[in-house]
């Protein structure tokens, strides 16, 4: 009897340790957040270009994460990308003329949605849409624009040479 109980105790400790390890891996290592009760509210915004934004990316104000991107879909009514975000319930005083932009964390980091507060007296509520948006910057477009504007300029050195004699 005593031996059986020792075995049961050892087994119980082993199983407990195993599940504790699993729980640690799921909650501490992953970015998954288990929302209990307060699920926050949804906001949406439409962008010309979302770049490399992915569902689960953070939504932040002044660098503080206030929510996550829930889904990204293409809207055929507007011919723009529609990004749906879930904002934490604690951040319920975002002015309704705030703007949203897709930004990049660091030089090689992932993309996130940054919200800049407006000055309105009324606040966003569940299901509202952010009107003022700024698209993600695509590096190729930036380079081609730069080259195009360079080509349009008159060549600087030749004009100086002609004017000197």
């Amino acid at each position: 009897m005593r031996q059986t109980r020792a075995i049961e105790l050892g087994t119980g400790l082993f199983v407990l340790l195993g599940f504790a390890a699993l729980f640690f891996l799921i909650t501490q290592i992953t970015s998954r957040e288990f929302g209990f009760g307060d699920a926050g509210y949804r906001l949406s915004a439409s962008f010309e270009q979302v770049g490399g934004l992915k569902p689960g990316a953070p939504v932040s104000m002044s660098g503080v994460t206030i929510g996550r991107v829930e889904s990204i879909a293409y809207d055929f009514n507007e011919y723009r990308a529609r990004v749906t975000m879930r904002i934490d319930g604690a951040y319920d005083r975002i002015p309704d003329d705030s703007d949203a932009g897709i930004l990049t964390a660091g030089l090689l980091g992932g993309q996130y949605v940054g919200i800049g507060p407006g000055s309105s007296e009324t606040f966003f509520a569940d299901g509202n849409q952010i009107q003022f948006t700024q698209s993600a910057i695509v590096l190729e477009n930036l380079i081609s624009k730069f080259l195009f504007s360079k080509a349009a300029e008159p060549p600087a050195e030749e004009t100086t040479e002609e004017s000197t004699p």
């Binding site: 049961e8 087994t11 891996l25 992953t30 970015s31």
Partner: protein, 257 residues
Amino acid sequence: MLSAVTRDLLLSLRTALEALGAYALFFLRLVTETPRALWRFGLVVQQIHNAGAHSLVIIMMSGLFVGMVLGLQGFDLLERFGSEESLGTAAALGLLKELGPVVTALLFAGRAGTALASELGLMRATDQLAAMEMMAVDPVRRVVMPRFLGGVISMPLLAAIFSMIGLFGAQLVGVQLMGVDSGQFWSQMRGAVEFGDVMEGVLKSGVFGIACSLVAVYEGYHAVPTAEGVGRATTRTVVISSVVVLLLDYMLTAVML
């Protein structure tokens, strides 16, 4: 001359197919017995203790050292690209998806699989299994099933413990020894590792648990009842388990990636 070679080839092919068929039938038998065996959980608990709790020390030691090596090697490699902050991500994904399940399964085959096979083989050699049959006790039901289930239940838990300890080992070397920023280490890991990655590891170790336990109980139960036969069953357990685990690992990775 040629016909003798082809005949030998065909014969060995036939033997291999027979062995595969015998394995499949035995596995089917074990699966159909599972609900009844779970009903007598006391026996299973005893085997979880034997297979799982007794493997704990070797699993934790190995996990720590594998994690520490991962920390060193990962740091050396990532430093060349100037991105040693990604060490946490690399260590976590490597441990969760590959090293945790695979190394645990290989250690399990060596520690618990051999114990199972030699125990069952000795029972066979000393006619204990035959004695049970004489008393109308089904040895598969009474002896094999609890051992099989004990192994299947223990494996995912052992793999989770291995991964967790390994991560601490990697953190120990990377952060404490090599000076990677602790916040970067954990936050980059959290950003990159997803719930599915953890579940992939659990699924893998579950499959490996079934495979290793099946090989051990099959080889032990069907051992030739001599001292040499028991020894051979034990050796075959380790060899077959290891090859099967690595083969299954490739197949599972290819499917899930």
